[in-house]
C-alpha cells in the first residue's frame, strides 16, 4: 500500500530551490557542464514541488524537537564525510567525494528546511512514526541528507516511483546517471515510472539531447508522445514524431487533431494546413484521403447552406445520396450534380449505381433509373443493361422500394436463365413473369402447379389459364 503522497508548500520549495542553487554552484559537476541546460535556475520551478518535496517526506512528526537534535549533532560531524556508521551501507557510491554539508548550506538554512511546515505535521502521516525512537529518526534524516548528495542506485529510485514511495530524481545530475535512470525505468516496464523519468529529462536537458535520447529509446519516445497527445501539445508532438522519423505517425496525429476540431470552417483550414505541411511527402494515398476529406467538407458546407440542411459529418456516399435526392436534375458539371460528386471522390461504379438505384427508387422515379441502367443499342430497337451490380440485387431492391409490376418485369427480363428468373419472380410475386417463364420452357406441369397456387379468378390466374390454352405451344410435358 502506498502512503499518501506528500505535498510541499510553495514556501518550503522556495527554500529547496535556494538550496539546490547553492549546491550546484559548489558542486561543479564536470560532466554536467557540457549538457546542463544553460539556465539551471529556470529548470527548478514550482512544478518541481512534488519531486522536491518528497525528499523529506518520510519525516513524520516532532520536527521541531528533531531538528534540534539534528542541529546538536552537527558540530564535529561532517555530513558528507566518512560517517558510515550513521549512514549505514545504503550508499554505494564513495561518499567522501561529496563536500562537507556546511560548505554548501548554512546551518540556518538547513534548520529552516527541517523546520519547514512539513505537511505531515499538519495532516498526520500514515507511517509508524510513533514506534520510531528519536535516534533512529535522526539517523534516517541524516541518511536522507546523505542521499541527497549521492544519488541512490537508479533501480531503487525507480522501484520507489513504482511503489509510490517518496523519491527524488534531482540527484541524478550527470548525463550518464540520467541515461541509467531511463534504462532502469524502461527495464522495470512501468509506464508511470518511464513517463516521470522522461519528463524529468525533458525538464533538465537541452531539447536536442532529449530528442537524441528519445530517438534511441522508442518506448520512452512513445510515452512522451502519448503524454503530449493527451495534453494536446500538438506542435511539440509533431516535432517529436518528425524528429523520430515517424512522419507518417506525425501526419496521422495532426490529421486526428484536425478531425477533432468542432467548427467546420476551422477544421477545413486546419486540414489544408496539415496537408501542405505533413502530407506532401509520404504515402500518396493518405494525401488523397485528406484532400478528399477537405473537398467533401467544403461541399457539405456549401450544399448544406443551399438546401438548409446539416450535411456536415456525412460520408461521401451519404452526400451522393443527398445529391441524388435533391440535385438529380442539376446540369452535369455543376458541383451538386450526383455524377460530378461521384467523380470528384472517385466513388466506385458499384456504389454510385447502388446509391442512384436506392435513392431514385425511393422517389419512385423509375424513368431516371432506366436512363442510367438501360441503354438502347444504336439501331434503337434492342436494349442493353449497363450494370456493375448483380441484377438480382437490383430487382430485389426495386421491389423493396415498391416498384410497380411493369418495372419489375422489365428488369426481371434481364435475369439470365429462365430458372433463375422464375425463381426470383416467384419470390417477388411477379406472376406474369413466372407464367411467361414456364411457357418459354414449355413446362406445362410447372405452369399448372404454379396456377394452383394462385387465387382462382384473379388476373394472374386467368392469364395462366390463357397461356395454357394456347394451342400452338409445344409443351414438353
Amino acid at each position: 500500500m502506498k502512503p499518501a503522497k506528500v505535498m510541499f508548500s510553495v514556501n518550503s520549495s522556495l527554500f529547496l530551490t535556494q538550496f539546490q542553487d547553492h549546491f550546484i554552484m559548489a558542486r561543479q559537476d564536470s560532466e554536467a557542464d557540457d549538457f546542463w541546460n544553460s539556465s539551471s535556475i529556470k529548470s527548478f520551478n514550482f512544478d518541481d514541488e512534488e519531486t522536491g518535496g518528497a525528499l523529506f517526506g518520510v519525516s513524520k512528526s516532532g520536527t521541531a524537537r528533531l531538528s534540534q537534535q539534528v542541529r546538536a549533532s552537527l558540530p564535529g560531524e561532517d555530513f558528507g564525510g566518512t560517517s558510515d556508521s550513521l549512514t549505514g551501507s545504503t550508499s554505494t557510491t564513495p561518499s567522501n567525494t561529496a563536500p562537507p554539508l556546511r560548505s554548501l548550506i548554512s546551518e540556518n538554512c538547513l534548520a529552516s528546511i527541517l523546520e519547514a511546515d512539513l505537511p505531515d505535521a499538519v495532516y498526520g502521516g500514515r507511517t509508524k512514526k510513533n514506534d520510531m525512537k528519536p535516534e533512529e529518526e535522526i539517523r534516517m534524516l541524516k541518511r536522507q541528507v546523505q542521499e541527497r548528495w549521492d544519488a541512490p542506485p537508479v533501480d531503487l529510485t525507480i522501484k520507489n516511483i513504482f511503489l509510490g514511495r517518496p523519491h527524488s530524481l534531482e540527484p541524478y545530475r550527470s548525463l550518464s546517471s540520467k541515461h541509467l535512470l531511463l534504462d532502469a525505468a524502461i527495464n522495470l516496464g512501468d509506464g508511470n515510472a518511464i513517463l516521470e523519468v522522461v519528463l524529468f529529462l525533458v525538464r533538465t536537458l537541452k531539447k536536442s539531447l532529449v530528442h537524441q535520447i528519445l530517438a534511441a529509446n522508442p518506448v520512452a519516445a512513445a510515452h512522451y508522445a502519448r503524454y503530449l497527445a493527451t495534453r494536446l501539445q500538438a506542435t511539440e508532438l509533431t516535432d517529436l514524431l518528425v524528429m523520430l522519423g515517424k512522419s507518417r505517425e506525425a501526419a496521422m496525429k495532426q490529421y486526428q487533431l484536425c478531425t477533432a476540431t468542432q467548427s467546420v470552417q476551422r477544421q477545413i483550414q486546419k486540414l489544408k494546413l496539415c496537408i501542405s505541411s505533413h502530407f506532401v511527402q509520404g504515402d500518396p494515398n493518405l494525401k488523397k484521403i485528406a484532400q478528399n476529406h477537405v473537398a467533401l467538407l467544403e461541399w457539405e458546407q456549401a450544399v448544406g447552406a443551399m438546401d438548409s440542411e446539416d450535411l456536415v459529418g456525412k460520408s461521401a456516399v451519404g452526400c451522393l445520396a443527398h445529391a441524388c435526392r435533391l440535385h438529380w436534375d442539376d446540369p452535369r458539371g455543376s458541383p451538386t450534380n450526383p455524377f460530378s460528386l461521384a467523380q470528384l471522390h472517385g466513388v466506385c461504379e458499384k456504389q454510385v449505381q447502388w446509391t442512384i438505384l436506392s435513392e431514385r427508387a425511393s422517389q419512385q422515379a423509375w424513368p431516371d433509373i432506366d436512363s442510367v441502367f438501360i441503354t438502347k443499342n444504336w439501331i434503337g430497337s434492342g436494349t442493353k443493361l449497363k450494370l456493375a451490380l448483380p441484377i438480382e440485387k437490383v430487382v430485389i431492391q426495386l421491389h423493396s422500394k415498391g416498384a410497380p409490376a411493369d418495372v419489375l418485369s422489365k428488369y426481371l427480363g434481364f435475369v439470365d436463365g429462365q430458372e433463375r428468373r422464375i425463381a426470383l419472380a416467384q419470390q417477388l410475386g411477379c406472376h406474369k413473369v413466372v407464367i411467361d417463364g414456364y411457357a418459354a420452357l414449355r413446362d406445362r406441369q410447372g405452369l399448372q402447379g404454379y396456377k394452383a397456387t394462385l387465387h382462382p379468378g384473379s388476373e394472374s390466374f386467368l392469364y395462366a389459364e390463357g397461356v395454357l390454352r394456347v394451342s400452338t405451344t409445344k409443351w414438353k410435358n
Binding site: 508511470n192 496521422m252 490529421y255 494515398n285 456504389q351 440485387k393
Partner: protein
C-alpha cells in the same frame, strides 16, 4: 462466505476473491464513520464479482453509486469514497462531482482509491482540475489485478492491453499482468514451467522474473499449478474475429455479456414468477451466467446446434421429477420429495430462462444477415476466393452494415489470405472511407499497424498453419464433437491448437516449424521455486496436470469453451486441466472497437 461458483475447480479461485476482499475492506475499515462509495461504471459492475453490495454494507457503507457527470443523489455519510481506474476522463468526472458536493455544502471527507494504482498523469490531472487538495492524503491504491469470473476463469478486465503494447509501445498493463500472476503464485505456489509465444508474453515473463526477485515472501505455498502458458493475442489475430458458435459465445456475440451478466429486455421473461427480482429494473432483466447454475454449466460450452437437444432432455427430466409426486408415496418419500422441491423449482426456473435466451439467440442466428456472414467467414477460413474483393463484403459496405462488422470481415480476409493484394486493400479502404466517413482513416491505420490489415508478403502463413495445425476441420460433429473446431463449426482456434502442443513436455520444440511463421519469440522456462531448487516437473501420472493459460490481449468465450472441452477429454494423450486467465474477455466486435479511434474525445 465465498461464492460457490468459484470453488470446485482444480484451483480454488474463491481465494482470489478472498484476497481482493481483504484488500478492499481493510482500506474501508481504516476509515472511521459512515461511507458512501462511488465506483466508475465499469469498475462498479466488475466489483460485484468480488463482493456483493450487502457485504459493503457490513463495512459501514451507506450507499454505492456509479460515477456520472453531475450531482450525486442526496445521501449523507461522513466519507465519500471514489474508487476508479486511473483514467483521465474519470478524474474529470470525480473533479466535477467533488466540486458539486462542495457547492452543495456537504461536509463529507473525500477519498480517492485507484485500482490498481495512481499514475503520474492522473495526479497531474487532479491538480489541474483543482481538486487534489480536496483529497489531501486520502488517496489510496487498491492493487487488485485479477477479478474472479468462474472456477476456472479470471480476468483483469483491462481492454486496452493489446492496443497499448502493440500500437503505443506501452508495457504498463503487461507489468500489471505480471503482478497479477505473482499474486496468483503467492496463493497457489510458484508455477514451475513457464511457456509462451509472442513479444508480450516474453515481456510478461521477464517482468515476473524481476518482480519475483524483489518479492521475498517466505510462505509461498507448494505449487498447485504445473505450467503457465502465456499467449500474446498478436500470435492469433484470426480467432477473435471468427463468429463464436458456442452457446455462451453466441450470447456474447448477439447481446454482449458483461462481467458474467446478461441484460435482456424484461418483456421476454414475463411469465416467470420469481420471488425476488432483485436485479430487475423497470424494463431489463439481468441474468447471471456462471457455473453456479447447473444447467448453464452444462450447456454453455456446447455448439448452439446441440443446445436445443440438451434443453429438451432437461425438460423431460424435470417433468419426470415433478411427475413423481403422483405415485403412491410413503410419508418418508413425500418428505424427501418436498425437501428437493426448492432445488427442482430452481432448475425449472433456470430451464425457462435458458429456453427463452436460446429462442432469442435462434432468432439472431436464423436471420439472413447472420447466415450470409457466417457462410462468408467459412469460405474465408477455407481460403476460397480470398484473393479478390469479396462480393458479400462489398454488399455489406453498400448496405452500410455496422462498421465493426465490415472491419471484422475485411480483417479476416486479410489474415486468411496472408495479406491482401495491394489493389484489393486500397479498394476496401476507399470504399470504407467513402461510406463511413474519412475520419475512419485513423482506425484503418491502427488496424494496419496492429497487423490485422496488411498487404500480401511472400510467405503464405495462414495456408501453412492451416495445414500444419489442422485449423479447418470438416467432419467434426457439432452435437458430439471430437475436436475443438466445433466452437466455430469449421475452424479450430489457432490459439488453442498451439496450447494443445505447448502442454506437451517437448511442445515448443515439436512446434519449431510453425513457430517461425508466428510473431516470436517462443520460450519454455523452468522457474526456480522459492527455496531455489527447481521443482520436479513430472506430476504423478494419475492426477491431471494443471495448466494456467493466460491470454495477453484478451480471449473469447469460444476459446474458453475449447479449453474446457480439452480438460474433459480424459483419453487424450495429455491429461490436462485448464485454468484460464485473460486481460479481458473479448469478442470480434469489442476487439475491433478496442483498436478504433474514438473521435469524440
Amino acid at each position: 462466505m465465498s461464492s460457490s461458483h468459484l470453488s470446485g475447480g482444480k484451483v480454488n479461485i474463491s481465494r482470489v476473491q478472498e484476497h481482493a476482499r481483504k484488500h478492499i475492506f481493510a482500506l474501508l475499515d481504516n476509515i472511521d464513520g459512515t461511507k458512501n462509495i462511488v465506483f466508475d461504471a465499469a469498475l462498479g459492475s466488475v466489483m460485484a464479482l468480488i463482493a456483493p453490495k450487502a457485504m459493503f454494507k457490513e463495512h459501514n457503507t451507506k450507499s454505492i453509486f456509479h460515477l456520472h457527470s453531475g450531482t450525486l443523489p442526496q445521501s449523507h455519510a461522513n466519507h465519500l469514497i471514489f474508487i476508479i481506474r486511473p483514467q483521465l476522463s474519470l478524474i474529470d468526472l470525480v473533479a466535477e462531482n467533488v466540486r458539486n458536493e462542495v457547492k452543495r455544502g456537504s461536509l463529507t471527507d473525500f477519498h480517492l482509491f485507484f485500482i490498481p494504482r495512481i499514475t503520474f498523469l492522473c495526479e497531474k490531472r487532479l491538480e489541474d482540475r483543482g481538486v487534489l487538495g480536496s483529497f489531501r492524503n486520502n488517496i489510496q491504491e487498491l492493487p487488485l489485478h485479477l477479478f474472479p469470473f468462474d472456477n476456472d476463469l479470471m480476468s483483469m478486465e483491462i481492454g486496452s492491453t493489446f492496443k497499448e503494447f502493440h500500437l503505443e509501445n506501452d508495457p504498463t498493463s503487461l507489468h500489471q499482468t505480471a503482478q497479477g500472476l505473482l499474486m496468483l503464485q503467492s496463493l497457489f505456489g510458484v508455477i514451475p514451467r513457464v511457456t509462451g509465444i509472442g513479444p508480450a508474453s516474453l515481456k510478461v515473463s521477464e517482468f515476473m522474473k524481476r518482480l519475483a526477485q524483489e518479492q521475498n515472501d517466505a510462505n509461498i505455498p507448494p505449487s498447485q499449478i504445473d505450467q503457465l502458458i502465456l499467449l500474446d493475442r498478436c500470435v492469433d489475430l484470426l480467432t477473435p474475429l471468427a463468429t463464436q458458435l458456442t452457446y455462451e459465445g453466441l450470447i456474447d456475440e448477439l447481446f454482449g455479456i458483461r462481467n458474467t451478466t446478461l441484460r435482456l429486455p424484461a418483456e421476454h421473461f414475463v411469465s416467470s414468477n420469481e420471488a425476488s427480482p432483485s436485479y430487475t429494473s423497470a424494463d431489463t432483466k439481468d441474468i447471471i451466467l456462471n457455473s453456479g447454475e447447473e444447467l448453464f454449466a452444462e450447456i454453455r460450452d456446447k455448439n448452439f446446434n446441440a443446445v436445443g437437444l440438451a434443453l429438451r432432455k432437461k425438460a423431460n427430466q424435470i417433468s419426470m421429477q415433478f411427475g413423481e409426486r403422483h405415485g403412491d408415496k410413503t410419508v418418508q418419500e413425500m418428505k424427501l420429495f418436498v425437501s428437493r422441491l426448492p432445488y427442482m423449482m430452481a432448475n425449472k426456473q433456470s430451464l425457462a430462462n435458458h429456453t427463452t435466451i436460446a429462442e432469442l439467440v435462434q432468432k439472431g442466428t436464423d436471420s439472413n444477415q447472420f447466415l450470409e456472414a457466417l457462410e462468408t467467414e467459412q469460405e474465408l477460413m477455407n481460403v476460397i476466393d480470398t484473393d479478390k474483393a469479396h462480393p458479400f463484403i462489398e454488399d455489406c459496405i453498400a448496405r452500410k452494415e455496422p462498421f465493426t462488422k465490415v472491419l471484422r470481415l475485411v480483417c479476416m480476409q486479410a489474415l486468411t489470405n496472408s495479406g491482401l493484394r495491394p489493389k484489393v486493400l486500397e479498394y476496401y479502404k476507399r470504399e470504407i472511407l467513402q461510406t463511413y466517413g474519412f475520419q475512419h482513416a485513423l482506425t484503418l491505420c491502427n488496424l494496419e499497424q496492429a497487423g490485422l490489415l496488411r498487404v500480401q508478403q511472400n510467405q503464405r502463413q495462414y495456408t501453412v498453419l492451416r495445414k500444419a495445425l489442422r485449423l479447418t476441420v470438416v467432419d467434426n460433429s457439432e452435437v458430439t464433437p471430437t475436436d475443438i473446431s466445433y466452437v466455430h463449426s469449421v475452424y479450430a482456434p489457432l490459439s488453442i491448437r498451439l496450447v494443445q502442443h505447448l502442454v506437451r513436455p517437448n511442445g515448443p520444440r515439436a512446434l519449431q516449424d510453425v513457430l517461425g511463421l508466428l510473431p516470436g519469440p517462443a520460450f519454455d522456462d523452468i522457474q526456480p521455486s522459492v527455496s531455489g531448487t527447481s521443482l520436479s516437473l513430472q506430476s504423478s501420472s494419475d492426477s491431471p496436470k494443471v495448466v494456467l493459460v493466460f491470454f495477453i490481449g484478451g480471449c473469447t468465450f469460444a476459446e474458453i469453451s475449447a479449453l474446457r472441452f480439452l480438460s474433459q477429454q480424459e483419453d487424450s494423450d495429455a491429461n490436462v486441466e485448464f485454468v484460464i486467465g485473460t486481460t479481458k474477455l473479448i469478442n470480434g466486435n469489442t476487439f475491433i472497437e478496442s483498436l478504433s479511434e474514438n473521435l469524440d474525445s
